[in-house]
Symmetry: C2
Subunit: 199 residues, 2 copies
């Protein structure tokens, strides 16, 4: 039985899972969730994920929440050492950037897009200011590195790219960050790449 993704097409977090699955070659059963109707807040989905969020990933009896944790699972189960190494230093260096996706990018371009595109009530000026900080850090890093970690594509790139590339939907375009924009283009050129609306 194929693994299942409870999915929303416009969610960058769901997209990460679709993207890595495509790159690794893992067949996914995609189950669209009626997000506007709040299907993720009710059983059976709220039983699978008490946090009442998507994506949710099911593989047999295992149900996982959180897009970064799902990337870790897919990479480790089906991706060999390519997308997430097992050695302590490599694993930690990739993980540093998974944490950027979970923290700085969530509080930055993701929040800004939630405000502008989906009408969430939040401090969008703060989200844009946090976006500027993390994008400047990424620009500095990517000015002399092709990939976020280990000098090769890893789930660090897959975790961080979507909300960076969707920033323009939250008033955070990449024009001031040419090295970041070039990195987004490198991710888009990976064999097997799939896009989403606005990427």
């Amino acid at each position: 039985m194929a693994a299942r993704l409870y999915d929303l097409e416009l969610s960058g977090n769901c997209y990460k899972v679709r993207l890595l699955s495509a790159l690794v070659g893992v067949p996914l059963e995609i189950i669209p969730v009626d997000f506007l109707a709040g299907a993720h807040k009710q059983p059976p989905l709220s039983d699978l994920n008490p946090f009442r969020e998507i994506p949710i990933f099911e593989d047999g009896a295992l149900a996982l929440r959180d897009s970064q944790a799902i990337l870790i699972y897919i990479a480790r189960k089906w991706g060999g050492e390519d997308w997430l190494p097992a050695d302590p230093a490599g694993l930690a260096q990739v993980s540093q950037w998974l944490m950027v996706a979970e923290n700085e990018l969530a509080r930055g371009p993701n929040d800004a897009r939630l405000h502008d595109k989906f009408g969430y009530t939040l401090d969008v000026a703060l989200a844009r200011s946090k976006s500027a900080r993390i994008l400047a850090l990424m620009e500095q890093h990517l000015a002399h590195e092709k990939w976020l970690a280990l000098a090769r594509p890893t789930i660090a790139d897959i975790a961080c790219m979507p909300y960076v590339a969707l920033g323009h939907e939250g008033g955070v375009p990449l024009d001031p960050y040419p090295a970041v924009a070039a990195w987004v283009d490198r991710v888009k050129a990976l064999p097997g790449f799939v896009g989403m609306p606005a990427i």
Copy 2:
């Protein structure tokens, strides 16, 4: 040469690293950082971590930022399978909670404490509301589980405990969450446990 931690005693994120090192039995050279003077924002520390934050962890030529990534490194290098398993499902199930430490707890009790104890300008009502949401989810989980993941102590617990236990310093006491409070006590009873001020 012992691994080095650039440290601030009152930082819950630095404390996590001290705690896991004590539990695993890894000797650490602790280097106190003059945080008030902004030593972390200047060379040599800003070269080790361009994010200009602490903790920073050095092991030989490797420098790591982000407390969760440092926990992953210590667990994988010195902790065998005990604190962080290598199999896909175990690794992902622990990682789900590392992401809670990085996201929900950072935006919740950590932000509330930064406001109350350290005078940061931020929306403390929002931080308390986010605290209530994640603590209710943890209460629900810990009402029938002794540990956050895998039915045993892992770095999930080490990553999440500090800012939960420090919540009272940000107006987020644990009185409404008896199962969470009991879990904090279980972490405190682990062999080799070390505390920090207010824990």
